[in-house]
Structure formats: structure tokens, C-alpha cells
């Protein structure tokens, strides 16, 4: 009998210890949450020994401490450090706990996870979030975000196009960080070899541009533009330069969108005339096409500049200008970028709002924040006043001493806001498929656009 009881107890103990195994390891990381890496996986709910019910990383913070998720050590993290330093002048006790994520999608997954579990306390106080995704996430997880309408910010000082992402149904949720204004950078030396100057590619029609691209390829063997054929941002940017959206009243607008049909034709012609190289994927685009010195021009959001600058021997040979358009007017567009959002996990929303308004929101610390963000991380602001600073007015040696930062901010003010949609990325995928079929299989543009439109309608449930 005693033996049997012992067996029972042992078996029970084994089962319990196996279960507890999962719990104890997470409580271990809870206790060491001051460590940045540990606190990222301390998302398991805190155990009862913890006095607060919130997750470790938010709950264990001091009164003047905020945590934030960001992902790029060379780009947005220096910007956040600049903001922390600027706010510390106002409040020396302030501390910003920057938790580095591997990539932007980790932040999105963290929100998805917290939303699915119905427990937002696992999030940090603030997250950096991609502009093209935020619309969808506010729709899907409305409780995860905090309105910042009452923050002390003069919203008119920012690019309206940038704000159109973080303003959902008229409510401000985010503070803009970087600037996604599209640039078209050209190798002036290669243009010259083909008999052109940068003025010849400024304010031209796409038709003329393709001819120039053909000449450049014939003379130099380099493409005038490259793009990731898989995650193809070209149609979006080219349409925005026309002031047209891929969506109309919340529905996809592809087939009956004259500009879109024409742009598909332009992309096809550009590829067939060797003016445009569609790469296999993103790393093929950045590592091989751009850094492998296979291109004479690059068009994308200005965050592509650090990639261009990797090729040291081409310093001084680049210049930037605006995009071509269908009509030949100078084109302005934006692509990518991110903003800072306060999450539902934040218990010090007043502090968070004040910090963000004071720094990124154009408060007293904004000039310092944006100057250092540019110097240390290459982050260009959408705050109109930032361009007045000396740092922005300086010429950049790599770009033939052109003051590109001031120019980009100026270009950003011309970008027209277009209708945004939750389905930006599914659309990008479907249009990339259409382009692929048109170029490789000779498919009909209208038929392919119809297929893409049907699929987006299907996904939306229309």
C-alpha cells in the first residue's frame, strides 16, 4: 500500500514538474527583465508572486521609464536614442528602454500575439510600426492602440501624406519618425557616357525615360532602374506620383484605372528595353543590383540611400531628382517609413505623449532629436521645420555635394496623399504576380489586372 501511494505521489510529482517546467523558466526571465533581450521573451504572463498583473517589462519600470520596440540598429534606434537624450534635458531622470527586435515583422507579430491572447500587457509602452501595416492593425486590434489626439502637437507642421497613415478615421494614433519620400538617384557619370544629364531625366515622361534607359544600357551595360520583382513597390509609387490610388472607396480599382493600366505597360516596356531590371527578391535587389554596381539609377523611398552609399568608389557620382510621370510633370511619391505608437500596455500615457510630442512631435526637443537622428542614423524627418536646420542644409559628398536632405524634405511636401487600404501588401503581391505574367508569359494587362482585382475583392469579402 505504501508503495502504491509512493508511486502515485511520484507520478503526480513528475506530471506537475513537467508542467511547472514551462512556467518556471518564464518566471526566471521575468525576474531578469532589466536585461533587454530577456524582457523580449518575458511575454509569458507573470506569475502570482509578481505584485502587478501587467507583464514584467512594463510593470517593473520606474515612474520615468518607458520601453519601446524598434528594429534597426543603424536607422531608427539611433533616432530613438537621440530623442531620449533630448528629453533628458527636460527631465534628467527620464529613461527610454529601447528593446531591439530582429525585424519589423517581429513587432507586428507581437501585436498579433497580444491581440489574439487578449492581453496587451505583454507589449512595451511604445512600438515603432510600419506605416503600410498600421491601418490594418488598428482595424483588427482597436484596443491595442491609444489615441494621441490630445498630445501637444501641431499636426500641420508635418507632411500630410505621412500623417495619412497614422490617422485612422480622423483619429491620430502615431508620431511620424522617418520620411518615406521617394527619390530617383542617378549616376551622373553613366548618364554622361550615354549623352545625357540629370536634367534630361528630370520632369520627363516615362516613355522618354525608357528611351534614355535603353541608351544607357546599350552604352554602359547598366540598368537605369532596378526593383524587387517579388515585393514590387513600383506600381504604388508610380501611381502615387500621378496622384492616383490603387483603391477607390475601400475597393480595389485596377482595371478601370486608366493610369494603372498605362503604368503596367510602362513597366513592361521598361523591362523589355533593358531600362528596368526586375530582381528575383529583395536581397538580389539590394546586395546584387545596387551594391553589385549593376545599376545607373535607383528609385525608392529615401531609406534606400544608405544602401546606395555602400559602394564607396562611386562617391560623388550620384545625384537625386524627382520621378518621371506619364505626363512629363515632376513626380512625387513616398514609400515605406514608420511611426511611433503608444500601446494599450502603457500605464504612463501622459509621460509617453509628452515625450513623443516633445521630441518627434515638433516640441522643444524636436530640432535636436531630428538633427541627431539624421547625423547618427540617416533618418530624415517629415517635420517641415527640420529642414531649416544647418544639418539638413549641408551638402552630401556622396551625392556630389547636393544638399539632398533639405531637398527630400521639400519633395516630401509635394507628395499627394492617396487612399490607403488595409490590403496594401496583398495588393502588392497580386500586382507583382500580374506584372510577372505580363512580362514573362506575354499575358494581357487588362486580363491580369482583372484577376488581381477579383482576388483582392475575394480577400476583402466583397
Amino acid at each position: 500500500m505504501k508503495k502504491k501511494l509512493l508511486t502515485m505521489v511520484l507520478a503526480g510529482a513528475m506530471a506537475v514538474s513537467m508542467m511547472a517546467g514551462c512556467g518556471s523558466s518564464s518566471s526566471g526571465s521575468d525576474s531578469s527583465s532589466s536585461d533587454a533581450t530577456a524582457s523580449t521573451d518575458a511575454s509569458a504572463s507573470s506569475d502570482s508572486s509578481d505584485s502587478s498583473t501587467a507583464s514584467a517589462n512594463v510593470a517593473s519600470e520606474g515612474d520615468k521609464e518607458l520601453s519601446v520596440y524598434a528594429w534597426d540598429e543603424n536607422f531608427n534606434i539611433p533616432a530613438l536614442k537621440a530623442a531620449e537624450a533630448a528629453y533628458q534635458k527636460k527631465d534628467p531622470d527620464f529613461k527610454l528602454n529601447i528593446i531591439t527586435q530582429g525585424q519589423s515583422s517581429d513587432v507586428e507579430d507581437a501585436v498579433t500575439l497580444a491581440g489574439s491572447a487578449g492581453d496587451y500587457s505583454t507589449l512595451p509602452d511604445i512600438v515603432l510600426f510600419q506605416d503600410h501595416y498600421i491601418n490594418q492593425y488598428v482595424t483588427n486590434y482597436p484596443d491595442a492602440w491609444v489615441s494621441v489626439d490630445d498630445a501637444n502637437v501641431n499636426w500641420d507642421d508635418f507632411s500630410q501624406e505621412k500623417l495619412s497613415y497614422s490617422t485612422i478615421s480622423g483619429t491620430h494614433y502615431g508620431f511620424p519618425v522617418d520620411n518615406g519620400t521617394a527619390i530617383f538617384a542617378y549616376r551622373t557619370d553613366l548618364l554622361e557616357q550615354a549623352g545625357y544629364t540629370i536634367d534630361d531625366v528630370t520632369g520627363v515622361t516615362w516613355e522618354k525615360w525608357i528611351q534614355i534607359g535603353k541608351d544607357v544600357y546599350d552604352k554602359t551595360g547598366k540598368y537605369l532602374m532596378a526593383m524587387d520583382g517579388d515585393g514590387n513597390d513600383l506600381p504604388y509609387m508610380m501611381l502615387q506620383a500621378e496622384g492616383v490610388s490603387q483603391f477607390k472607396d475601400g475597393k480595389p480599382n485596377f482595371v478601370n484605372n486608366e493610369a494603372m493600366v498605362q503604368i503596367m505597360g510602362v513597366i513592361r516596356d521598361a523591362v523589355q528595353n533593358n531600362a528596368l531590371l526586375l530582381c528575383t527578391d529583395w536581397s538580389d535587389y539590394t546586395d546584387k543590383a545596387i551594391q553589385g554596381d549593376q545599376v545607373a539609377g535607383v528609385m525608392n523611398g529615401n531609406w534606400i540611400i544608405p544602401t546606395i552609399e555602400q559602394v564607396a568608389e562611386n562617391s560623388g557620382k550620384w545625384e537625386i531628382t524627382t520621378m518621371p510621370t506619364l505626363s512629363g510633370a515632376e513626380g512625387y511619391a513616398a514609400n515605406g517609413g514608420s511611426s511611433l505608437y503608444i500601446t494599450a500596455a502603457c500605464q504612463k500615457t501622459d509621460l509617453a505623449k509628452d515625450f513623443l510630442a516633445y521630441t518627434f512631435g515638433g516640441g522643444d526637443g524636436a530640432q535636436e532629436t531630428y538633427d541627431n537622428a539624421l547625423t547618427n542614423g540617416g533618418v530624415i524627418s517629415t517635420w517641415a521645420k527640420a529642414a531649416d536646420s544647418d544639418v539638413y542644409q549641408q551638402g552630401v559628398a556622396y551625392f556630389n555635394n547636393q544638399p539632398i536632405y533639405a531637398k527630400i524634405v521639400e519633395m516630401g511636401t509635394h507628395v499627394s496623399p492617396v487612399e490607403q487600404s488595409d490590403y496594401h501588401y496583398p495588393t502588392r503581391t497580386d500586382i507583382a504576380t500580374a506584372i510577372h505574367n505580363v512580362i514573362d508569359n506575354g499575358a494581357d494587362i487588362t486580363a491580369e489586372l482583372q484577376t488581381a482585382e477579383d482576388d483582392i475583392n475575394f480577400q476583402m469579402g466583397n
Binding site: 517579388d230 530582381c279 505574367n437
Partner: protein
């Protein structure tokens, strides 16, 4: 309590002990596997974002929807294409290699066996990335082809629908042949050498020995590798995700990759629909495994 347990017969006591030993494992598998499966089934009847899921109306709308989903049907087609082409090639190669490496007179047998099995030791992600760089626009394969003058301009292997599929299949064969070979080698060890001797005395050729002795005696192993390969191929994910990202134009995307895209990729977070798709695969695997077992069943 004491009285009643003392009253148990020896058999009852043994039975009770058996249940006690079974309980921890049963409890764990129920909590860790069966409960999530039931949850997923419930979720597959819901719609909306994961924070605020509502019952679908009609209840099985997600299941009805997948039949109209052209991309999903395309991924089903892709997966079956891999299945039909890759699995037979791989298993035939594996059985031939096993036969070769089972030869008692072969020198360096251990070395060759290790070499064939070695790809299985690489992680799915790393081997996908290696194949990706091999077949990149300026990868090794293109460099060789250009140098030898076989092609005049690089071939965009991963940017071409047909080539991308071919490369995915080559990668799969490279990765999994050795794995299946090990099972066949083990199966071959169990075949008495005297059977082969008898065949030799009867004057059977090598091919006849293989076809009439090795294959029938290996049948249980072949059935098992078939089921495992079918199951593995239907759930193929890493290669599609890492080697081609499902592209170009969704031409290499597998069902599992599409499920991932519907739950985490592209920020869609359509967990209800993704769960329904998972059950589609679940049923497919069950049906195919059932057919396989029936075909391979030797008891009759």
C-alpha cells in the same frame, strides 16, 4: 478508501497501475495536442481579427470559401506537383542507393553512407538559403554556365516559374533522399542473406533479385517512407518560404506557406480562414495515408 483498495483483485490492481502510468502522458498529449486541435477547429468556424472573433454565418463559410480561392487552389496544385514528381524520384533513388551501399564488398561503405545522409543534418533554412545563392542571378550555377558558354546571358532560375519549381524539387531530393535511404538500409539488414544465395543458385539476375526479393520484402518500409514523404510534402513550408518566398507569381507556393501568409504574413491575421485551410490539409493527409495503408496491407 483503504478497505476498498485492499478488496481489489490482483488483476484490477495491475490495471489500475497501468492507468496510473498512462495518465501523465495522456494528460500531456491531451493538453498540448488535442486541445489545440479542437480549438483550431472551433476557430475555423469563426471570422474576424484574432482579438475579436465572431461566429461565421453560415458556420462553415471558411470551408466553402477555400474552393473559390484561386491562389489556394494554385498552392494545392503546386503541392501535388511536388508530391507526384518529387516523391517517386526520391524514393527510387533512395532504394537504389541503399541497395548499392548495402553491398558487402563495397569499400568505404561507411564514408559513402555518411555522405548520402549528410544533407539531412543541415537545417531546412540553411540548405534553402544555400540553394538560393547557388541559383541566384550571379550564383555559382550561372557563373559556370556562362564560363562554359552554355548560356549567353544569365538564367534567372528563381525568377522563372518552371525553373523555380525544378530547383525546389532538386533541393528537396538532395535534402531528403539520404533520410529515406537510411530506412531502406535498415530494412535491407533484416533480409536474410540466404534468400539472396538461394536466388543466385536459381540463376536469378541482379535486377530480378531486386524486383522479386528486395522490393517485396521491403514493402513495409516502402509503405512507411511513402506515408512519411506524402505527409512531409503536403506540409512543405521551409523550402517554399526560404528558397523562393512562394514566387514568382505564387508559382512555387505550398499550402502551408499560404496558411502562414494568411495568419502572419502580410499582416492579414486571418486566423479563422487559416485554421480551415489547415483542416483541409489534415483531411488530405488522413485520406492519403489511409489509401497507402490499404494498398500496402499484406494481410489478406
Amino acid at each position: 478508501m483503504k478497505k476498498s483498495s485492499r478488496g481489489l483483485t490482483l488483476q484490477a490492481k495491475q490495471k489500475a497501475a497501468g492507468w496510473v502510468f498512462l495518465t501523465p502522458a495522456t494528460a500531456l498529449i491531451c493538453i498540448m495536442s488535442f486541445w489545440p486541435i479542437i480549438q483550431a477547429f472551433i476557430m475555423s468556424m469563426k471570422t474576424g481579427s484574432s482579438a475579436n472573433m465572431k461566429w461565421n454565418s453560415p458556420l462553415f463559410n471558411n470551408y466553402a470559401r477555400m474552393w473559390q480561392d484561386k491562389i489556394f487552389m494554385k498552392t494545392v496544385g503546386n503541392t501535388f506537383l511536388y508530391l507526384i514528381i518529387q516523391v517517386p524520384i526520391m524514393l527510387i533513388l533512395a532504394i537504389l542507393l541503399a541497395q548499392l551501399l548495402n553491398n558487402k564488398d563495397l569499400k568505404f561503405r561507411g564514408l559513402f553512407r555518411t555522405m548520402v545522409f549528410l544533407p539531412c543534418a543541415t537545417s531546412l533554412v540553411s540548405y534553402s538559403l544555400i540553394f538560393k545563392s547557388l541559383f541566384a542571378r550571379d550564383g555559382l550555377v550561372n557563373a559556370i554556365l556562362l564560363k562554359l558558354g552554355i548560356v549567353s546571358n544569365y538564367v534567372d532560375f528563381l525568377g522563372n516559374e518552371t525553373w523555380a519549381k525544378v530547383i525546389l524539387i532538386i533541393a528537396l531530393i538532395w535534402r531528403w533522399t539520404g533520410y529515406n535511404m537510411v530506412f531502406y538500409l535498415a530494412g535491407l539488414q533484416n533480409i536474410e542473406y540466404s534468400v539472396y544465395e538461394a536466388a543466385k543458385i536459381d540463376g536469378a539476375s541482379g535486377w530480378k533479385t531486386f524486383w522479386h526479393i528486395t522490393v517485396p520484402l521491403l514493402r513495409p518500409t516502402i509503405v512507411m517512407t511513402f506515408i512519411m514523404s506524402i505527409n512531409g510534402t503536403l506540409q512543405l513550408f521551409d523550402e517554399s518560404m526560404n528558397l523562393t518566398k512562394g514566387g514568382p507569381a505564387n508559382s512555387t507556393m505550398t499550402m502551408s506557406h499560404y496558411i502562414y501568409n494568411n495568419s502572419f504574413g502580410q499582416g492579414v491575421a486571418n486566423f479563422g480562414y487559416a485554421s480551415a485551410l489547415s483542416f483541409f490539409i489534415f483531411i488530405l493527409v488522413a485520406i492519403l495515408a489511409f489509401i497507402n495503408l490499404k494498398v500496402g496491407d499484406t494481410r489478406d
